[in-house]
């Protein structure tokens, strides 16, 4: 049996990545009623953009930068203008279905134009073990956790401590009044799409070294983020963070103590329990949208 500390740290590290992805997911829902079923593929794709940049000769840091910028362009601006804006007019459900189609499209395109095989991806944080309380803990887990926490802190600071963050909240909570008092609501919505694109690209950089770059890796990630968002409360940033961490830890502990075969079932059981017992999620409130 692995040591509990290592399991917890590794669980929190993957959980923190789920949290980042789930936060982006809830942001899109809150500001523009977009349930993005392609969110997992949004995490998968930037790693391939970065690999392509590296293949073209760019150093790792530049490839990451290019990947993030391309992600914001394609998965932020492009996604909003070419898919969300035209589809949202027809309602939330057609848009949700369109994002499912997009997920399949992205996945198959990567498989077709890159490879069906998994590719290794360099780690942005140092690898190896360090000793905590006399037990070895993976340095990579701690680095990932630290970067993810930093990203979440930066995001909550942006939302709660800056003027633009308050405008984004206003646009989500009451678009009618926000427009009247002069908040550029459309631009605020675009910002949330760009922020989401940044978050998925960051998640991609953090998680791909652990799980390798593979066309199908978005399936697990998207599902984890979706469950995290629902478990935490679909309409709360802090709920998505808590939900992500919880799923990560539960998933890792289940793999170690229950069975690796049934690990994927445990988050689903958690999801069903939450939907049955507390459908608004741990932090959510019924029928309310906020950033």
């Amino acid at each position: 049996m692995s040591n509990l500390l290592d399991l917890l740290v590794a669980g929190l590290a993957t959980g923190a990545i789920y949290a980042i992805v789930a936060v982006g997911f809830t942001l899109l829902w809150q500001t523009s009623q977009t349930i993005n079923f392609a969110q997992g593929e949004f995490v998968m794709l930037p790693a391939f953009l970065m690999l392509a940049a590296m293949q073209a000769g760019a150093p790792f840091w530049l490839a990451i930068l290019i990947g993030i910028l391309l992600s914001m362009l394609l998965l932020g601006l492009g996604f909003k203008m070419l898919l969300v804006d035209p589809m949202l007019r027809h309602g939330v459900l057609p848009l949700a279905i369109a994002t499912m189609a997009l997920a399949i499209g992205i996945k198959e395109a990567v498989k077709q134009f890159w490879s069906a095989e998994a590719s290794p991806f360099p780690s942005i944080v140092p690898t190896g073990d360090i000793s905590i309380l006399g037990r070895p803990v993976a340095l990579q887990s701690i680095g990932v956790l630290a970067l993810a926490i930093l990203a979440v802190l930066a995001l909550t600071t942006l939302l709660n401590r800056t003027s633009i963050g308050h405008q984004m909240q206003a646009a989500a909570q009451n678009p009618t009044v926000a427009k009247i008092i002069g908040v550029p609501v459309e631009r605020m919505i675009l910002f949330t799409f760009l922020i989401n694109a940044f978050l998925v690209a960051l998640a991609s950089v953090l998680i791909t070294p652990i799980y390798l770059a593979k066309f199908s890796s978005g399936e697990v990630l998207g599902q984890a983020a979706f469950i995290a968002a629902i478990v935490g409360g679909f309409n709360q940033v802090r709920g998505a963070i808590a939900g992500g961490l919880l799923i990560g830890v539960v998933d890792n502990l289940a793999a170690a103590y229950v069975s690796t075969q049934y690990r994927a079932a445990v988050p689903l059981i958690l999801l069903i329990a939450v939907i049955l017992l507390r459908p608004q999620g741990m932090f959510g409130r019924p029928e309310e949208r906020t950033v």
Partner: protein, 247 residues
Amino acid sequence: MTAVLEVTNIKKSFGGIHAVNGVSFDVQEGEILGLIGPNGCGKSTLFNCILGQLTPSDGEVKVDGKVVTGMRPSELNGLGVSRTFQLLQVFPKLSVRENLILAGQEHQGNMLSRLLGPSDAGLTAAADQMIGFFKLDHLAKEPAGGLSYGQQKLLDAAMAFMGGPRLVLLDEPAGGVNLTMLADLKDRLRAINQEKRATFVVIEHNMEFVMSLCTRVMVMAEGKVLAVGSPAEVRANPAVIEAYLGH
């Protein structure tokens, strides 16, 4: 005296229904004009036409002599015209203070300064003054969604007064507000009207509130102006009694 608001022959139809059918009136500086009428007589539609939330089918709106017909609400806001809402419209998750700061803020302009500058845009003092004025001091840090209905109404009014507007249109400010708070609200509105020379148009069903607050009252029925005059004149007008008591 100069007219702050001039409305000329405003019409608005929805399909075959003439919700507002040729309404003209003006409001002088410092005046409190009450707007009353049975439900569905077109009061709120008229408000929405004046405020740019609906585009009138016909007619003209002038603010301080400037034609503003068809302008967007945010542009009117920039000209010093603000409003309150019949149904509560606050930002529920933001604190009372943050709501007021948002309402008073200049939202256009440099993105970078809004990202890096102070989140209150230098408006905390003004917001706190407004909070004190409406006696919401103990609630300044509370999320607006947690306030009672009456307190949210006060906040809604306070938000409309941030940035020192010239003209404020209040849509049923007294609806659902308890008697104590109602007296407070009336007192506050009167004070702002006198101290700041702000001009009001008030839609309200509470007759006592309208008659004691307003300097002039306009009565609407079926999309048209039925009568205009002092509270006493309007109260004595047989056509008004007829419209309210049925045909």
